[in-house]
């Protein structure tokens, strides 16, 4: 019972932190808003300058930060559980870059008009390719070194292909925008950007959450999991589809925001006593909190919005990565 109590405590604590940082992100911006004007817009449907900025610019930005942060957190926890590897993270193993490559191909070559879901779907397909490659290359051996090397290779290839695609893109701005795809940002997004990714993220998130018990069983090894009655093949694919659906969609509108999927599960794992199922939901909330707070930092530090969100998350995540290496040097050696 004490375990449950502390788990519920963690859930409530993170929920409060998430709501708090969501409102902090809504408050952050270059223009100070009159809040009664927004209230008036909600109650009396009276449009004003403040309500326009709030509903068209800030709200989409904050919702995106929340959704994408949650996606990166939960997918990091899922990948680490699935590959039974502490370094599995969509950015490190190349899933995000491949998703970005898919999105770049659709976005710059005029295919976004084909269907509203063209962009997130392309991100999804790119991510799927990378996960299949990771399975083929690193397999189920769980060797950290193989996984990291496979990740570096996939990341490099996807990055190079993305640069090539941007080079050949008909738009003259395309090449400069590689920064966005490699570092990620939620700036200047509109309501429609939120709407096109919501179905993918909800679908992917639910698929991942439905695999929670399977992840718990998987900690005992695949044979044990299948002897416990889990259909390992089917569930593994369900988890993979869940991860690529939400990561692919998130990357396709916000670029590759790094390190959240790595840092958050590691930070929160002790709080849920290394329970992979419980880690999923707390990582989603933790990821949302970290990305929302990072966006607040971006708003405070740069007036023109030049600073990319991925810079902040990498500044947090990079040193943490080093810390992990130092701490586990002997274990991984």
């Amino acid at each position: 019972m004490t375990v449950n109590h502390s788990y519920h405590g963690v859930l409530i604590g993170l929920l409060v932190a998430m709501i708090g940082s969501f409102f902090a992100d809504l408050l952050a911006g270059p223009v100070s808003l009159q809040w009664f004007n927004i209230w008036a817009a909600i109650i009396e449907n009276k449009a004003s300058l403040d309500s326009l900025i709030f509903f068209e610019i800030r709200l989409p930005r904050a919702i995106l930060a929340l959704l994408v942060g949650a996606t990166l957190g939960i997918s990091g926890a899922a990948l680490q559980g699935l590959l039974r590897n502490p370094l599995a993270e969509s950015g490190i193993i190349g899933v995000s870059n491949c998703a970005a490559l898919g999105a770049v191909l659709v976005f710059y070559f005029g295919f976004t008009q084909w269907a509203w879901f063209a962009l997130p779907l392309a991100g999804l397909l790119g991510a799927l390719v990378s996960v299949v490659l990771i399975f083929l290359l690193a397999g189920r051996s769980g060797s950290t070194v193989t996984l990291i090397l496979a990740g570096i290779a996939i990341n490099t290839i996807a990055g190079a292909l993305m640069a090539m695609a941007l080079n050949f893109a008909p738009n003259p701005y395309a090449m400069q925008e590689i920064v966005f795809w490699l570092l990620g940002s939620v700036a200047n997004r509109s309501v429609s950007d939120v709407l096109i990714i919501v179905p993918f993220i909800v679908f992917g998130g639910l698929l991942i959450l439905s695999c929670g018990r399977f992840l718990n069983a998987l900690t005992l090894g695949e044979e044990t999991a299948s002897s416990l009655g889990f259909n390992v093949q089917v569930l593994r694919w369900r988890l993979v589809v869940g991860v690529v659906a939400c990561v692919g969609a998130a990357v396709s509108v916000c670029g590759n925001i790094g390190f959240i999927g790595l840092v958050i599960p590691h930070l929160l794992r002790p709080l849920v006593r290394h329970d992979p199922q419980r880690l999923l939901s707390v990582s989603a909330m933790g990821g949302a909190v970290l990305l929302l707070l990072s966006d607040v930092a971006v708003q405070v530090l740069s007036s023109g919005g030049e600073l990319k969100l991925g810079v902040i998350t990498s500044l947090v995540g990079g040193p943490f990565f080093l810390y992990l290496i130092l701490k586990n040097r002997n274990v991984w050696g």
Binding site: G29, V31, E56, F107, T112, Y173, A174, E177, N188, S192
Partner: protein, 280 residues
């Protein structure tokens, strides 16, 4: 008789010698490395002295002198393309192809660079200086006189209160003080809100500040038709369509403002026509 022939011969040879000297000081093989020097050459230099222009020169969207640029050799402004042309004067922009310029100067080629005029007076100076480089000072003086006359005779509607305006272009850039664009806006009867924001030159501003500034006129600048880029998402953001009281207009066409020159008159006229349209 013989003496007269001798004097005549001496005179002719003296004259041809003099014209030889004169010709030596006027560049005969001029190569241009940038769009703006292309246009200045076409306006001021004798056509037979122009050896090559850049590819942008014939693009009617970019170049005010596109029609006159037909028939010339076009290059990408690379050293390898320029050297075989054996130029005796190379003109370019101080803000482009720095490496090429440095190299060409090391090789001993005369290179003249133009700056970026940010006022009518500086345009005047540029035209006269350029005219002198290419040996057409008189032609340059003519062009300046015509421009001044046109500027003095602009038929502008002067309101007591200037209309507020803001320029917003790809990647979220606006244009503030210390720019030719600002001079054009003021001359056409607008008050540029970017100047109030403290924007000097070109600066990125957020969408929020564009909305909060509440300009009576929002000049949208999208250099290119292709909008498949994040850069275009700034000017295509739905909030701009919903902005209250604002009128969206295309900013000055590139051919009138990409380079400084006498086309500034046409640019001011273009803005001022927008102004007239808005009258109720």
């Amino acid at each position: 008789m013989r003496a007269i022939i001798l004097i005549k011969w001496a005179l002719v040879s003296l004259l041809s010698l003099m014209s030889c000297f004169a010709q030596a000081s006027v560049p005969q093989r001029i190569v241009s490395l940038s769009l703006c020097t292309d246009q200045l050459l076409l306006m001021l230099a004798p056509r037979q002295h122009i050896v090559s222009l850049t590819r942008g020169a014939v693009d009617p969207d970019l170049s005010y002198m596109a029609a006159e640029a037909n028939g010339f050799l076009l290059t990408g402004g690379n050293i390898e393309e320029v050297l075989p042309l054996n130029p005796d004067l190379i003109v370019g922009s101080a803000f482009a192809s720095r490496d090429a310029v440095h190299f060409l100067r090391q090789l001993g080629y005369p290179v003249k660079l133009i700056g970026l005029p940010v006022s009518i007076a500086e345009i005047r100076d540029l035209l006269l200086a350029f005219g002198e480089w290419v040996g057409s000072l008189e032609r340059a003086e003519q062009v300046v006189r015509k421009m001044d006359w046109q500027l003095a005779n602009l038929n502008l509607q002067q309101d007591r209160v200037k209309k507020t305006a803001l320029i917003y272009s790809s990647n979220g850039y606006t244009i503030g003080s210390g720019t030719l664009e600002n001079v054009m806006l003021n001359a056409a009867g607008f008050h540029n809100l970017a100047v109030d924001m403290g924007v000097v030159g070109f600066e990125q501003i957020t969408l929020e500040r564009v909305v909060a500034a509440q300009p009576a006129f929002l000049f949208i600048e999208n250099h290119i038709d292709n909008s498949d880029s994040l850069a275009s998402q700034y000017v295509n953001h739905p909030v701009l369509d919903k902005m209250l009281l604002s009128k969206q207009r295309e900013f000055i066409p590139s051919r009138l403002r990409a380079c400084a020159g006498p086309m500034v008159v046409e640019a001011i006229n273009y803005l001022s026509e927008n102004h007239h349209d808005s009258k109720p």
